[in-house]
């Protein structure tokens, strides 16, 4: 009897270990329009609606990361903000812009979770569109047609697109954003690679602060007080921590090693 129970334990352990490890196969990459897509489903299904599908590519062409993730207050992880319909109706979160009053590119931005819709769920489906075939106002390839192309992710070089003025992301929202003195310039610096043979990483604060604010990364994502005191490696980054918070789902993906590992090995 004891042997049988030990055998069972052994089988469970082996199966558990086998299931827990990586698959050993290539993961499928999302298509350019799907890169940066976030599904939000805290309360949608309970309310009888499909989950919300949020596309980063459209919003990042119009607004900086800082505006939404610092000023408006969205969390960095899908579902962590806990947005409710009442929040939107009261002009917070999505409702900060999607309020039926804000003008963007000569158009009124449709209101989210409006009281007007009543029983008509078609209005709701503009955002609550998971699994539904909803026609969007903006089509990816048309919208990004003139943008400089890049490999991977959205297939767009967003850095260049912004530098060339093809997008002018808004950084300040009246009534929500705080007027701040401008950012003090931080110098670029090198981060040592832990793997022998891999070049060091040149990190540029300047490139990041065009889009992001200090409090977005510090200390939530990068806790270390002094450079080099936060010990991490590619393992954690691939798991979606540190640089991987943005660079595995929204910003240019991690698969392009030499985008960051560019310092010549001395």
């Amino acid at each position: 009897m004891r042997r049988v129970s030990w055998a069972l334990v052994f089988i469970f352990v082996v199966v558990g270990i086998t299931l827990a490890q990586s698959d050993g196969v290539k993961k499928k990459r999302p298509l350019p329009p799907d890169y940066g897509k976030v599904i939000i489903n805290n309360y949608s299904e309970a309310a009888g609606l499909s989950a919300v599908v949020f596309d980063h590519w459209l919003h990042r062409a119009k607004f900086t990361c800082r505006l939404c993730h610092v000023d408006v207050g969205f969390a960095m992880k899908a579902g962590a903000t806990g947005i409710k319909a009442t929040d939107n109706m009261n002009g917070y979160y999505c409702g900060a812009c999607h309020n039926g009053k804000m003008i963007s590119e000569d158009r009124v931005v449709f209101d989210s979770c409006s009281k007007r819709t009543g029983q008509d769920t078609r209005m709701c489906e503009r955002c609550h569109s998971s699994g539904k075939n909803v026609k969007k106002d903006y089509e990816f390839s048309k919208f990004t047609d003139k943008f400089p192309k890049g490999r991977f992710g959205n297939g767009i070089d967003w850095e260049k697109t912004e530098a060339e003025g093809l997008v002018k992301p808004v950084d300040f929202l009246q009534g929500i954003s705080i007027k701040r003195p401008s950012l003090t310039i931080q110098k670029d610096f090198a981060l040592g690679s832990k793997q022998e043979g891999m070049p060091d990483i040149i990190f540029s604060h300047k490139k990041h602060t065009i889009w992001s604010g200090c409090e977005l990364c510090h200390p939530e994502i990068f806790v270390g007080v002094k450079r080099g005191s936060t010990k991490y490696s590619m393992v954690e980054i691939f798991e979606g921590r540190y640089c991987g918070v943005c660079h595995s789902t929204v910003a240019f993906p991690l698969i392009d090693c030499q985008r960051c590992h560019i310092k010549p090995v001395s």
């Binding site: 990586s22 050993g24 490999r151 991977f152 043979g197 090693c257 310092k263």
Partner: protein, 257 residues
């Protein structure tokens, strides 16, 4: 198979196996799939939506393409997936200049484009299409399995000069060539020797890491032959395109014939 089993159990299990299977070489223990003809090895039939649209499936030949481009170009830069029928290639995408139709490939200038009268050059449903051209490779260094060609040696000798990038030039700084030995899961099997060097000539880091082989130490575990035969780990390439797993000595140099 239990991992590193005890002595008595090993003897009992080997006894069962040896008595049940009239094997003379290790190869016959494994359920290795039958290999196609040399000229057909690495030829892939792509039928994600072809038949649905009443078009013959596409026959893609790896040996034709690998002479001109390294694995990196298609599987890293152009983002073709490693598993057939999982890349969303469409006529529209090709005509837009993505996938097969990328500038510098089948764009109508460098090579025939996705247009009439060239449909049948790909959409022929015939895995042995282009067989007659295979004899052009008869002077290449030989190998016993797969295409019967040692592609690594062919590259080293300069018999082929495949392009290694289209727009993303691989950094000269990343020349990772570490090698190591992997202990076999079964007792009695010699170690497998892995070297990065021949792989990085064809592949980008991202082709394998971190999806196929996790870079975290001691986390890629239990990748036994059975998993490779299932198309995982080394089997992603070394079942259908790179030299097949039948070629034991290429990885287990200590293996007896």
């Amino acid at each position: 198979m239990p991992y590193k089993t005890g002595f008595i159990k090993t003897v009992v299990l080997w006894g069962i196996l040896l008595s049940g299977v009239p094997a003379s070489s290790e190869q016959e223990f494994w359920d290795l799939p039958p290999l196609p003809e040399a000229s057909e090895y690495g030829n892939v039939l792509i039928d994600r939506i072809s038949l649905k649209n009443r078009i013959k499936p596409v026959a893609f030949s790896h040996w034709t393409h690998r002479q001109k481009y390294t694995c990196r170009v298609c599987h890293f830069e152009l983002e073709f997936n490693m598993k057939v029928n999982t890349t969303e290639i469409t006529e529209a995408a090709n005509k837009e200049g993505r996938y097969c139709g990328t500038g510098g490939c089948h764009d109508g200038k460098t090579a025939f484009g996705h247009d009439k009268p060239y449909c049948e050059k790909c959409h022929n449903g015939d895995r042995s299409y282009g067989k007659e051209k295979f004899s052009e490779l008869r002077n290449f260094p030989k190998s016993n399995f797969g295409n019967g060609i040692n592609w690594v040696k062919a590259l080293e000798k300069g018999l082929i000069t495949p392009v290694n990038y289209l727009t993303i030039k691989p950094s000269d700084e990343i020349s990772y060539d570490k090698g190591f030995s992997l202990e076999a899961e079964w007792r009695g099997i010699p170690v497998a020797v892995f070297s990065h060097r021949p792989h990085i000539k064809w592949l980008d880091c991202n082709n394998c890491h971190p999806d196929i082989f996790n870079i975290k130490k001691k986390t890629t575990k239990h990748f036994e032959m059975t998993r490779m035969l299932n198309g995982e780990f080394c089997g992603v390439c070394h079942m259908t395109v790179a030299f097949p797993l039948n070629d034991c000595k290429r990885c287990h140099p200590g293996m007896r014939e």
